[in-house]
Amino acid sequence: MNRFGYSRAGDVAGAVRERAANGAAAFIAGGTNLVDLMKENVARPERLIDVTRLPLRGIEEREGGLRLGALATNAEVAYDERVRARYPLLSSAILAGASPQLRNAATTGGNLLQRTRCYYFYDTATPCNKREPGSGCPAREGVNRIHAILGTSEHCIAVHPSDMCVAMAALDATVRVTGEGGERAIPFAEFHRLPGDTPEIDTNLGRDELVTAVDLPAESFPTHYTYLKLRDRLSYAFALVSVAVAMELDGGTIREARLALGGVAHKPWRDREAEALLRGQAPSPELFARVSDATLRDARGFGGNDFKIGLARQAIRRALSQAAAGTPQSQTDKRVQ
């Protein structure tokens, strides 16, 4: 871990100003990812701007939806009565991730900015385009069973590790940020990026911008939803594949449906074309198989992760059935519903 300066931000404007003034500074809140990366010498900020004292922790009603303060911890959001009642998908996804101790410290804003678990990104003894642009991507032909099958580039096949974000992507949340230029709202789908030629850049957040909140829209999918996570042990492991589904049924017909995947791409993966196949249809195994195939039509493996395509195909079908039936996956009963 390198040496760094430390300051405690008193207000959002001050925090943003300080960050803008120092290109090598970083915001820190829960620290559960950044401190880890600093110990690995992967992140080497010159200065840490502690934003934990900013008044961004509340969870508030807003235009029929909820505004989650960027500093609300993962546990606070997951166990919030309003979130549980109205956005159980989000609650479920958060509880599928990390551990209770980590969820007690990790924040909503920090979770959005989590970095990949790619082995090569974490190991400074190996090249990595995300860590050192231009050094190469050994994962493509290396140990890659945890890597991406969708939206990869020749420079990077890393995946975004968050569970929470997969649910937020499905819910069409909005990320609220503040920078020197003022506030702006970023639709969730545009927040994270695909690696392309710049795998070192994970998100479209401006360098001086601070995440202040995540807005959940009014449409909340309280009954037909699921978060199905598949991993290498039954808890406390990152997703190999995860599927968030949110549905609105009208009688026997799917009125609205959202499908987001985790563990398969550099960002939570939404495929609106595939989702569109669901609308106006009656739930059926055949329909779900079609949607699953459509979602994965461009999927490609790199050897060790080839299995993820088949796994995702089955997982999408199952998750769609769970959501349609109103029998969401339990995060404690490890039997797949």
Binding site: T124, T126, L234, S235, V336
Partner: protein, 741 residues
């Protein structure tokens, strides 16, 4: 009396639940400096240049040690060989510019503060010249060889019996298959650490994470030339080891080197990543060829294994030495080979050899049972061997048949339907599988002493260790039983090289060995105390003999008139003694060893539930019936088996260290991606101890429990997965990708 065999809570429990039990990195010393290790990013090559200037410029940095400024060290390989070293030339930290494996320690940065050392370690600039390397056993197996020099304590494969080829060809049903499991790392929760306290007069006190304080003491003496009487090694508490602490590792070397060079106290704690850089369970490929006749009797058993070792030592395990113990077969062939890779030398990891070998044997037996259309348990019973065929010896005891029956009964094995995929509940396939476990019941020469103090306190001491196994507790029980005092009156001192001689704690031999030594010391103390008691004025024991008295309730009593007694404290008072001390020792009987084979056995039954489409595997039930001789403490004994089963689950389903052969480097070197079983994975483990009186195996009738719990568990789970899914996965761990269609 009544201490042995009674479920007893750990005597060190309070220390452990209150955080007062101290582990290697937790001793304080004035002026303590901190060492942080720098590891090689390359797998093979030479250090070309080291620039330590930036590191040395960090405020608080005291010194950067590398091969360029190391002190003079022992020259001969023999000096570097510890008491459990395999044949070869042990790795020497910071010895020269040669890089033997990725992760090799190349420097130690010492600073006033841990944080300064950690920071400075990132500033060290080292240039390497790289050389070609190999870390792939699959490729290296072509050059595998039979180890020329055998590792002490590891019997070479048994000689062939009959004609395995002819027996195979004659068989009515046959199986030929290859099984493999990848590299595993011990990953005890405590990272390896050493605190070396510079005592100021040339003496050092070393707190090391080790399974053998005296092994480390002699290593320090041999390598650094420090007289043994100036080195005390303490390992009072060991935060798990599972074999990782059998040999002295580089944290010890580096901390001792820095402390003696700087003449101040130094602490070195490895990182979790560095826990993947000094020992591992080797990658193993097993080739099995079995055949049976129409009655389901084995006609051939061929077991060949190849494992990796390093370039500099021939580490060996007993992988192919088990079939001849378990199954009657007249035509056998066993073969064991090593292949060298550019990795650190592998090391013993919980049931080394057996945990591995019984995967090949027990999965192959399951496959052959299916080929013979026989229930897997019935197939084993038909081939049950009453003797050790390889040595033509009887067993001191072998209640494996009882273990099979009791385990099957408890599990409900009789309700199993044979066909794979035939048991279902909702969307889940249910699989029931079983396997046999076997491990050596060893005993090693060990010494102990026992002291009675004037206030009635008993103190027993031995240099053995408690690595979580419960040694403190069973030794207290043995002493309390022998001397007839309350458990609370007994203090156990272990984990200190100053104490009576003991080998490393490993091989499941500690209870039998240290237990017998402590018992011998207590028996000697009984004799002395009785003599002293009889010599007291008007002693009620004046005309008694030792076999006519009992030690009970803190007194020596006439067996047939317990009211006539002398309190132990009165014995000392009467003779104006502050204490009475006796020594004891125990060794295995050579005659008995030649006459009998001695093994622990188990029958493991596993239930898995597998999602029919998604192939998520849940282990919902395990019954492990263990025949291990006398059980000293059913409470801690059960925990030993639980632990073995959980690690066996890891071996079956989760654990694998994945190398990138291009870098010759393990990539998932952390606890987030090297998966050990977590709370959510573990439920429903039922441990049964089968009654197995055995006066022959060791003085206390004890066989040892540290390892048997893992043996057989992986195969039972793999066989259950086959029963559930119809799919044979012969490469462990059985991760989801291997089960998907």
């Amino acid at each position: 009396m009544g201490h042995i065999g009674t479920p007893t809570s750990r005597v060190d429990g309070r220390a452990k639940v209150t955080g007062t039990a101290r582990y290697a990195a937790e001793y304080v010393a004035p002026d303590l400096a901190y060492g942080v290790v720098v590891s090689s990013p390359v797998a093979r090559g030479k250090i070309r240049a080291i620039d330590a200037s930036a590191a040395l410029a960090v405020p608080g940095v005291v010194q950067v040690f590398t091969h360029e400024n190391r002190p003079s060290l022992a020259w001969f390989s023999r000096s570097w060989q510890d008491e459990v070293a395999p044949p070869g030339s042990p790795f020497r930290p910071l010895y020269d510019k040669e890089i033997h494996y990725s992760g090799q320690p190349v420097a130690l940065v010492v600073a006033e503060e841990f944080e300064a050392a950690r920071h400075a370690a990132t500033l060290l600039r080292i240039e390497y010249e790289t050389l070609p390397h190999a870390t792939d056993l699959g490729a290296a197996r072509e050059e595998a060889y039979e180890p020329r020099k055998k590792r002490s304590g590891i019997p070479p494969p048994a000689k062939p019996r009959g004609d395995a080829q002819a027996g195979y060809e004659a068989g009515a049903v046959k199986l030929e298959a290859e099984y493999r499991h990848g590299f595993e790392h011990h990953n005890p929760m405590e990272m390896h650490a050493a605190t070396v306290v510079w005592e100021g007069d040339g003496r050092i006190t070393v707190y090391d994470k080790t399974q053998g304080s005296q092994n480390c003491q002699s290593y320090i003496h041999n390598v650094f030339g420090i007289p043994s009487d100036q080195v005390r090694v303490v390992n009072a508490y060991v935060g798990g080891a599972f074999g990782s602490g059998l040999r002295p590792h580089y944290q010890l070397f580096l901390a001792v080197m820095a402390a003696t060079q700087l003449e101040r106290s130094v602490r070195v704690v490895l990182t979790r990543q560095q826990m993947f850089t000094f020992t591992h369970r080797p990658d193993t490929i097993q080739k099995m060829a079995l055949a049976a006749d129409a009655d389901g009797k084995l006609t051939a058993f061929r077991h060949e294994a190849v494992q990796n070792t390093s370039r500099f030592e021939d580490y060996q395990e007993a992988v192919v030495n088990w079939a001849g113990l378990l199954y009657k077969c007249d035509n056998t062939l066993f073969d064991y080979r090593l292949a060298q890779l550019d990795l650190p030398t592998p090391g013993d990891m919980r049931a080394p050899g057996a945990a591995t070998g019984l995967i090949g044997i027990e999965c192959a037996m399951d496959e052959l049972a299916y080929a013979a259309k026989l229930d897997p348990l019935e197939f084993r019973l038909r081939n049950y061997s009453e003797i050790d065929q390889d040595n033509n010896r009887k067993y001191t005891s072998k209640a494996l048949r009882e273990a099979y029956h009791i385990g099957a009964e408890r599990f409900g094995w009789g309700r199993r339907s044979m066909a794979p995929g035939s048991m279902r509940e909702g969307g889940e396939l249910i699989g029931w599988g079983m396997a046999t476990g076997v491990w050596e019941a060893m005993m090693m020469k060990t010494a102990a002493n026992a002291v009675l103090h004037a206030d009635g306190r008993v103190e027993v001491a031995c240099a053995t260790s408690d690595i979580g196994t419960g040694t403190y507790t069973i030794l207290a029980q043995i002493a309390a039983e022998a001397l007839g005092v309350d458990l609370a009156r007994v203090t156990v001192r272990i984990g200190d090289s100053d104490l009576p001689k003991s080998p490393v704690s490993g091989g499941s031999w500690t209870a039998a060995s240290a237990g017998a030594a402590v018992d011998a010391a207590c028996q000697a103390l009984r004799k002395s105390l009785f003599k002293l008691a009889r010599g007291m004025d008007d002693s009620p024991l004046a005309n008694a003999s030792l076999d006519r008295v009992v030690f009970d309730g803190g007194a020596i009593r006439l067996a047939d008139d317990e009211a006539r007694a002398v309190a132990l404290t009165d014995v000392l008072t009467a003779h104006h003694l502050s204490l009475v001390e006796e020594e004891g020792a125990a060794s295995p009987s050579m005659i008995s060893s030649m006459r009998y084979s001695r093994y622990t056995h188990s029958a493991v039954f596993a239930e898995v539930r597998v999602d029919a489409q998604l192939k998520v595997v849940r282990v919902t039930r395990i019954v492990n019936a263990v025949a291990a001789g006398r059980i000293l403490n059913p409470k801690t004994a059960r925990s030993q088996i639980l632990g073995g089963v959980v690690m066996g689950m890891g071996m079956a389903l989760y654990e694998e260290t994945m190398p990138d052969h291009r870098f010759g480097r393990f990539m998932n070197h952390n606890l987030a991606e090297y998966h050990v079983a977590a709370h959510a994975d573990v439920q429903g483990i039922d441990v049964i101890f089968v009654d197995e009186p055995d006066e022959e195996v060791s003085p206390l009738g004890v066989k040892g429990l540290g390892e048997i719990g893992i043996v057989g568990t992986p195969a039972a789970i793999a066989n259950a997965i086959f029963h559930a899914t119809g799919k044979r996965v012969r490469e462990l761990p059985i991760t989801i990708d291997k089960l998907l269609d």
